[in-house]
Symmetry: C2
Subunit: 255 residues, 2 copies
């Protein structure tokens, strides 16, 4: 019994870790003391150059544990041998969580963005930045079919990924179905919708689904949505950049 | 007298031409019959491959004049020998104009965006796309210090650059000064401003100045602005992507 509680506690902790990699992103994260870091991983094969020394020094200064390992172990930790440059860092972000944990204690009202097939890391970063600034309560990020948080996303989010609630899930369809069962309204963005964004009322429990830039929201996700809305556009423009759409949703009550 | 009138008419016509280059952008523009094209320029050194043939055929089909010239002449036309791939196309866009012509017949009310140091072509394209969809009346684009309309911008604007009023000017400072003399309100975006975007009223004659992503609006332009506004942000986010800012301005009355 003790063992399984211990296991679950550890699992929850490791689930909450975001491992980033690459020398520049790792050094920048270490230098920003507002970003909680858990452990630094360095490949023994790294040459002791000025950047690696700066990374070590920054970790030492913050008393962050350093794990020296061989190149193979490091690539298992980073999961990106091509781009890790022999450096990985586990971040213990308070806002990096799972859809499951959010579902277990739903607030009385909230607005989330759900990402359906957002494959471009730059767009993902910009969506996070806009959502964070506009006060969105979290971003549902499925492991399947979407870009994941990596150095490009961190850069394009201008660091806001560290203070935005990211709710990971396996597949969007199943997770949205569970939110619907819990009484959350699921609204897909679609240029063909009859309702416009301004028809959506004030506070409530609501998820806006943003689809792939070329193909829109997938059929499977459309089918389990409650409704769809569009953003009215002039000059026969057919679509907006997905990060712009995210911003218009996030800021719509404040403008 | 006849001569100088003729000269001015011709000058105005050539001023209104936008020359694009590169095989893919030129072919796409030729294939879209809604984009008015004036003349196709081809380097004699081009190999007669399938793309060049497709470009020729598309021009023939639309009865567009073809100018065969040597490589040097072509690079003078494209002004970008490195990227023109031996192909340039003059577009006669009704919305591609100058700040001067707009100033000569100011509408009773209008909103423009002015770009101050927007050097990233992708951002320029996204600004144009958002402004076009949100119904902004035009974009003031100085020749100095800003990206210019090129294939990357066209691509990132998703074709909206062809239906957005682009008002070219030499320097932003002098042009904004002339707008102010004509009674137009010039408002700089600044994260330090006291007023927020929602304080700006309904219709009027108004220019919003968007600054460089890193340095904001330049000092020279700030000094001749009437006021500044900010977009209120949550979670201590300090700035938004400039195309997102453009979208929030353009769509603010419709959300």
């Amino acid at each position: 019994m003790q063992d399984s509680e211990d296991y679950l506690r550890k699992k929850a902790f490791f689930d909450s870790l975001l491992t980033i990699y690459g020398r520049k992103p790792v050094l920048e994260a270490l230098q920003d003391e507002s970003i909680p870091a858990y452990k630094l991983h360095l490949a023994q094969s790294n040459r002791d150059d000025s950047v690696v020394r700066a990374i070590r020094d920054a970790a030492d200064k913050r008393n962050i544990e350093i794990n020296l390992c061989d190149r193979k172990a490091l690539s298992r930790i980073s999961r990106n041998a091509k781009q890790d440059q022999g450096v990985a860092l586990d971040l213990a972000l308070p806002h990096y969580g799972t859809a499951d944990s959010f579902l277990n204690s739903l607030p009385a009202s909230f607005e989330l963005l759900a990402l359906d097939g957002i494959t471009n890391p730059q767009n993902l970063g910009m969506i996070i930045r806009s959502a964070c600034a506009g006060g969105i309560d979290g971003i549902l990020l499925p492991q399947k079919g979407c870009a994941q948080v990596d150095p490009l996303v961190i850069k394009s989010s201008v660091g806001t990924v560290f203070k935005t609630r990211i709710l990971r899930c396996k597949t969007l369809h199943d997770t949205l179905a569970r939110f619907r069962e819990a009484g959350t309204e699921v609204i897909g963005l679609s240029s063909h919708a009859k309702r416009t964004l301004s028809d959506i009322g004030g506070s409530g429990c609501r998820i806006f689904v943003l689809g792939n830039e070329t193909h829109g929201v997938s059929d499977a996700v459309s089918r389990i949505s409650d409704s769809s809305v569009r953003i009215p556009m002039q000059n026969q423009v057919e679509s907006l950049n997905v990060a712009v759409t995210a911003a218009l949703i996030a800021f719509r009550k404040q403008l």
